[in-house]
Amino acid sequence: MAHLFLRTGPFTVHVETSCEEVIDGVTLLYDPACVLRRPAFCDYHVQIWQPPLRRHFRPQAVFLFDGHAPFLPGPRRHASPMLEWGMNWVIATTAHQFLIVHAAVVERNGLALVLPAPPGSGKSTLCAGLVFRGWRLLSDELALLAPGTGQIIPLVRPISLKNESIDVIRRFAPGATIGPATMGSTKGTIALVKPPSASIAAIDEPATPRWIAFPRFQSGAALELTPRSKARTFVELGESAMNYNILGETGFNVMSDLIERCDIGDFVYSNLDEAVSFFTRIADEAIPFAEAGS
């Protein structure tokens, strides 16, 4: 039985596992600075377990939080991504000190770009593209907004890529460390990417939200950024926030503040290089979305 203590931004997670896939995954994808000795207090205690009856015949793994399984067991080859999904679930259902929005977040010059989107939209691909061209990763999946300051708190963990985007990133960033591609989950083929070390080094530095772009990858489409209404964004982000209802009035205030201070647009792209230089130019030359166009 192995005990791993992971530092993932504001949370320390104790992972207990007998699955080699998980140990190998952590060794490959987590920076040594994020793998701790046993701390006095861990925010979460999770386990990835092998149901004993299925050790040889179609082996399985199951994720447990405080000894309870929130999901059904999955194939053991998914044990490593299962740890990431499980941690997302645990954080989203308990960390109500933050407003948690389902979005990737990257930062440049202290300002954060929020990429909210449903799965399959190319959010993680764009996020990975940006962080391998000088942007800093804050989170690939959950944007943690701190009430009070309205800042986004980094939750730096491996980026989860699906299907074709795995090869896209392999070509785009040949130096990136990418875990084994595991096939055949309901989400398709999955591979996890190790965050760049610069993002790890700044894991304690929050960023101020400045832009919200709803990305959509569309094969063959010309790059286009269309400004969108703040009211419509409010409704959509409210729906994609995990705990907007739980935070009540605080949630409303944090969300209004976020939307108030951001430039917002719908972003369509087909070429990752183009998309990355487009946002880098916006950030470096402080171009408003309305003038960025395409």
């Binding site: 006095a40 405080d66 009540g248």
Partner: protein
């Protein structure tokens, strides 16, 4: 550090070390009493000196409890719109009752279901009205549906299609077939307490409320929230036993005898006092001691409940936890109905499960 000890002596909470918090937070979370622990801790002037990480977890859970509170209060108004007319007064049970009556037992309690008590002759009308307003019986096997309606103390749970909130409509506190106790709505309605601050709503009389909570915990076989339910009882007993409810204790004992729920009352007082240090007057303790089971059974019960009422967390389990929980589960079925109904029921359930598994395997 044991969680019941902290509940009994809340002064210890602010003196916990980080290493102790590392056990206490998961235990409290999986027992469903993290926000209740927060309420206790915040009563201490040293609360702000607590280390930040455990404080964050407790406060986050309090936000969740506050959300449940808002949701339940909102839902009560919706329910009143639908069935207020046919019922006149809606009698709330369990968590919703504690909340609507603003009892200490509602502090930091997280729950989703709303339980109401309806006279049997209004069951049909209430169910139809709720269904028309969007509450539906989920997917339920026809056998289970019949089973609920014929033998149980409630109709199948109704869930609202849009808001996903669930109402349990009860017509009695114990199953129709229960070996002990006879507490139908008819026995309770004459004694309900209307809530001046919430017109249209009422709760059970204090002694009935305690007996319901005790019966629910000690005669049913689910202990995932056992410790939470025991703290409910502790808070109810302390509140009614102290604050201006003159004659509460003798009425409680008398009522338990009247409706045949003396054994659950005995267990409630015993384990509240033992585990949570609830103050039970000595003459009440003596008076309920005649309700205790023969000593071999009592020893077995002490053994089993010590495990069932511990925090639902691996650090609080031993090799006997599973057998004890299983024995209590079997006992709950035994209490629920006579053997000539129970045996066919369990056989039916067991064979159906097999059918379900084989369907899954072939799918």
């Amino acid at each position: 550090m044991s969680l019941p000890l902290l509940l009994r002596e809340p002064g210890r909470i602010t003196r916990l070390t980080l290493e102790e918090w590392d056990d206490v937070i998961p235990q409290a979370r999986s027992s469903g009493i993290l926000s209740r622990l927060a309420t206790l801790a915040q009563a201490d002037k040293d609360y702000w000196e607590l280390p930040e990480p455990p404080r964050r977890h407790m406060e986050a859970d309090q936000l969740l409890a506050a959300k449940h509170r808002r949701d339940v209060l909102y839902e009560l108004d919706r329910i009143y719109e639908v069935v207020g007319g046919v019922l006149g007064t809606i009698v709330l049970l369990k968590g919703a009752a504690y909340l609507a009556a603003d009892l200490p037992a509602s502090e930091g309690r997280t729950f989703n279901d709303i339980d109401i008590l309806v006279p049997e002759d209004r069951l049909g009308a209430v169910e139809s009205l709720l269904q028309l307003a969007g509450w539906r019986t989920g997917e339920i096997h026809p056998y289970d549906d019949t089973f609920y309606r014929r033998w149980m103390h409630q109709i199948p749970p109704l869930t609202h299609g849009g808001r996903r909130t669930t109402i349990d409509v009860h017509h009695s506190l114990v199953p129709r077939t229960a070996r002990v106790g006879a507490v139908t709505a008819a026995h309770l309605m004459g004694r309900i307490r209307r809530l001046p601050d919430r017109p249209g709503f009422a709760v059970l009389a204090p002694e009935d409320m305690v007996l319901h909570s005790a019966t629910h915990l000690f005669n049913e076989g689910e202990f995932g929230r056992g410790l939470r339910d025991l703290t409910d009882l502790d808070l109810l007993l302390s509140h009614f036993g102290n604050a201006g409810f003159w004659g509460f204790w003798p009425r409680l004992v008398h009522r338990a005898e009247g409706v045949g729920l003396t054994r659950p009352l005995f267990y409630a007082l015993r384990y509240c006092a033992r585990l949570l240090g609830t103050a039970v007057p000595i003459e009440v303790e003596e008076s309920v001691s005649r309700f205790r089971p023969p000593w071999p059974i009592l020893r077995a019960m002490d053994f089993a409940f010590a495990r069932a009422l511990a925090p639902d967390h691996k650090s609080c389990r031993d090799g006997w936890t599973e057998p004890a929980l299983f024995a209590l589960y079997v006992r709950s079925h035994y209490l629920r109905m006579p053997l000539h109904l129970l045996v066919p029921h369990l056989v039916r359930k067991a064979t159906r499960r097999e059918a379900y598994h084989s369907a899954e395997a072939s799918a």
